[in-house]
């Protein structure tokens, strides 16, 4: 079967590739053996941030190369690395107060509200909004809003204020997970029980049983509805 082909320009050089391919697939079809710019190949890791423009248009667009199908006359450049700012901290020693963000990522207060981050997000997140939540110390909201971030760094590449949005969001999520989310009593209780050896003899009994008996137990175990 003859495939439909399109012309794309990979870092400015022209290649003719099947139109059903993703950008990542098209680069491989063109003969690239990818080393950088390729991780999970399925939209989870953010390794494959890519900037493109369609010939005749002025607007720059961004995407994940593993998630975006090629288009006719696509000019594309990969962004396999972006120097985000990552500040170190000890999660057990900080507190989920407004001050911590001010201390670690003060540049978030230089946001000029241009919304370039949101417009460029490959995951369609409302990036500027989650930064606003971070500014106000509303970490739970920042965490929710940023949850699907794959940390590709495109937002930061477009930010005139030099904000490393993905790192800000990650800090907010860790603060939320560690401090703001309610504790799980059943989990703590179970950890204690195990530590106290509550299940030890039960487990040892089970492990001593012959396989045939285990099969019986397994095949007739009750299943929670």
């Amino acid at each position: 079967m003859k495939r439909e082909m399109v012309d794309v320009y990979i870092m400015g050089k022209k290649y003719t590739v099947p139109e059903e391919l993703t950008i990542m697939g098209a680069m491989e079809y063109a003969g690239y053996q990818l080393v950088r710019g390729c991780g999970c190949r399925n939209g989870f890791c953010g390794a494959c941030a890519t900037i493109y423009r369609i010939k005749g248009h002025t607007e720059l667009q961004v995407c994940l190369a593993c998630q975006k199908q090629v288009e006719e006359n696509m000019y594309l450049a990969t962004l396999p690395f972006f120097p985000l700012v990552k500040k170190n901290y000890e999660i057990k020693e900080i507190e989920p107060t407004k001050q911590i963000m001010m201390h670690l990522y003060p540049e978030i207060y230089k946001c000029i509200g241009c919304n370039a981050c949101t417009k460029s997000c490959t995951q369609e997140l409302d990036v500027m909004q989650y930064i606003a939540y971070a500014q106000r110390g509303e970490y739970g909201k920042c965490a929710e809003e940023s949850f699907d971030c794959v940390m590709c760094g495109v937002c930061s590449s477009r930010c005139p204020a030099g904000i490393s949005h993905p790192q800000v969001a990650l800090l907010a999520r860790r603060l939320t997970g560690t401090y703001l989310a309610p504790g799980s009593e059943h989990l703590d209780a179970r950890v204690r029980e195990i530590k106290d050896g509550d299940f030890k003899s039960l487990m040892e009994d089970l492990m001593r049983k012959p396989i045939e008996e285990m099969k019986e137990l397994y095949n007739h175990r009750d299943i929670e509805q």
Binding site: C38, F44, K68, H186, L202, L206
Partner: protein, 543 residues
């Protein structure tokens, strides 16, 4: 957009949907399952396998693709200069890195190991193929098991995993997995992983295939990503050195035959680097990118079984390397995401597997191997599949989810799935999706004891590169758990051991020895290994 044939079939699926809700779909009996697996599971396809002729598992069968790499030539042998392998041995005396604990692989197991080794006051470093976190861990969607609910217990967890693993799990490893599970979930929680919880803090838990209690904890459908992001951040907070885009291509042993480091290669410059270490932890993950029996895969780009090759060549035994997990629900359509994973959570939430006529042909919560075999049978023998560009598939009836749990459930609980298909104009809230098994998980791997040690002194393994924890079939959610339990375990033990280690003279004798064994067996390998990265051409040679 769906083809005409697909749309016609979807109408039949819609017609039966209401009646299928709440229908009691019978589970297969033990005998039925056994029969089904023997006939249809890829592990039982005899011409997919061959016997190893060399090494500690001589005589055991493994997939052809793995055998070729296990019995291939060392990369060093191909690179060698005028003095042969000796030219590499000459540089062993001047290592580029020296550390107490060398962690090979920057996924969830490697990160957990590094954090605990650091906690144990050891010098630790990570080398990893791509970026830190470009790994199978990042891709896990469904969740992580742990028996932390009142009506559940480690014993019930043990039974589920043991039965699911066909009674072949190593008891001492499984014991560790289930008894340390809750503490590991707590560890993650305290590090800041945002688990799904009710307002009172109760973990939201669901079933996975083969569980008898709802013990699957999740962080939306980004469970693995959420865990990986936090662990990576923690590794960085501790200033643990990460050498990325660098692969281990051979282990180094000392003159006592104990692990003593690895030969590394910078993937971009091909520069060879020597890492000397008191202890080594292999955490290189799975093998999906070897595409056994030509299956597509859900795995990340670097999943090429490298750790198994390195360990085997140094004399470590493999266990159950002939069993792979084919996830029943890989994407069959559209082709851009062919082979990608549709999380099992979709079935946990109530979506059924339905054939071209709109009939639900099985209980959607059977174990993975049984489900995969059942889908293959439905398509291959019963001819009830739906054709797609690459092969065929059956429907996974996602719209049922919102009919059962209410509108908004899909967006709240499986947003990643909604987005993945949404990009190709398929709204999974309205239309079902087409699925077929995809190569997903390496059940087998290097054999370890409860300390995480292989047959080789000072060589630890953790994560998907281990064989034995899950027996011949792993349940969903037990792998994210094992990388934390056994990753931390290996890190802790390696750090402690490193305190008393005196490394001898570094050698690559084992590499030479393996080559001469190949020679003796009459094998003249064409391939070099480890593979490091797959090569894709997308049919260029046929155009």
């Amino acid at each position: 957009m769906y083809s005409h044939e697909m749309i016609e079939s979807i109408k039949k699926v819609e017609a039966t949907r209401q009646d299928r809700i709440g229908a009691d779909l019978r589970r297969m009996t033990a005998d039925e399952k056994e029969q089904l697996l023997r006939q249809y599971h890829p592990d039982f396809v005899e011409d997919g396998f061959q016997s190893l002729q060399v090494g500690p598992n001589r005589g055991d069968k493994v997939p052809h693709e793995l055998a070729e790499l296990l019995q291939a030539e060392s990369r060093l042998a191909r690179m060698k200069g005028p003095e042969g392998m000796e030219s590499f041995e000459a540089v062993l005396v001047a290592p580029d890195y020296e550390t107490d604990v060398l962690v090979i692989g920057g996924g969830g197991a490697g990160a957990s190991a590094a954090i605990e080794a650091h906690e144990g006051h050891a010098d630790v470093m990570i080398v990893t193929k791509l970026r830190m976190g470009d790994a199978n861990t990042m891709m896990a969607e469904g969740g992580i098991q742990a028996a932390d609910k009142e009506h559940d217990s480690p014993a019930i967890h043990y039974l589920d995993a043991f039965g699911g693993g066909h009674y072949t799990n190593r008891p001492e490893l499984l014991y560790k997995l289930v008894t340390e599970g809750p503490e590991c979930v707590k560890w993650l929680n305290d590090l800041g992983v945002m688990f799904d919880k009710d307002a009172d803090g109760t973990m939201v838990t669901t079933h996975g295939g083969g569980t008898s209690r709802k013990r699957m904890h999740a962080a939306k459908d980004y469970s693995g990503a959420e865990i990986m992001r936090v662990l990576r951040d923690e590794v960085m907070n501790r200033d643990i050195p990460i050498v990325d885009f660098t692969v281990a291509i051979e282990l180094i042993l000392d003159d006592q035959g104990k692990a003593a480091g690895a030969v590394l290669m910078n993937l971009e410059t091909q520069e060879i680097l020597i890492a000397k270490a008191k202890t080594v932890i292999i955490a290189t993950g799975g093998a999906g990118r070897l595409h056994y029996q030509n299956f597509p895969t859900s795995n990340h780009y670097g999943a090429t079984a490298d750790g198994l090759i390195l360990g085997y060549r140094a004399g470590a035994q493999l266990l159950y390397a002939d069993t792979l997990q084919y996830h029943p629900t890989g994407v069959a359509y559209p082709s851009q995401i062919f082979g990608a994973l549709v999380t099992e959570k979709v079935r946990s939430l109530g979506a059924q597997l339905v054939n071209r006529d709109g009939t639900a042909f099985m209980n959607p919560l059977e174990t993975r191997d049984v489900s995969a075999a059942s889908i293959i049978r439905e398509c291959r023998t019963r001819k009830k599949g739906i054709g797609a560009a690459e092969g065929e598939g059956v429907w996974l009836d996602t719209p049922m989810i919102e009919m059962i749990h209410g509108e908004g459930t899909i967006e709240a609980r499986i947003p990643g799935m909604l987005r993945m298909f949404g990009k190709y104009d398929i709204d999974i809230r309205k239309d079902p999706i087409l699925v077929y098994p995809t190569l997903h998980y390496q059940n087998g791997g290097l054999k370890i004891n409860a300390e995480g040690l292989t047959d080789i002194d000072r060589l630890f393994v953790a994560g998907e590169a281990v064989g034995g924890i899950h027996g011949r079939n792993r349940l969903m959610g037990n792998s994210l758990l094992d990388i934390i339990v056994f990753g931390r375990n290996a890190g802790r033990n390696a750090a402690a051991l490193s305190k008393s280690v005196q490394t001898g003279r570094l050698t690559l004798d084992h590499v030479k020895r393996f080559a001469s064994e190949l020679e003796k067996a009459g094998i003249h390998p064409e391939k070099v290994s480890p593979l490091l990265l797959p090569t894709y051409t997308h049919g260029r040679e046929h155009d």
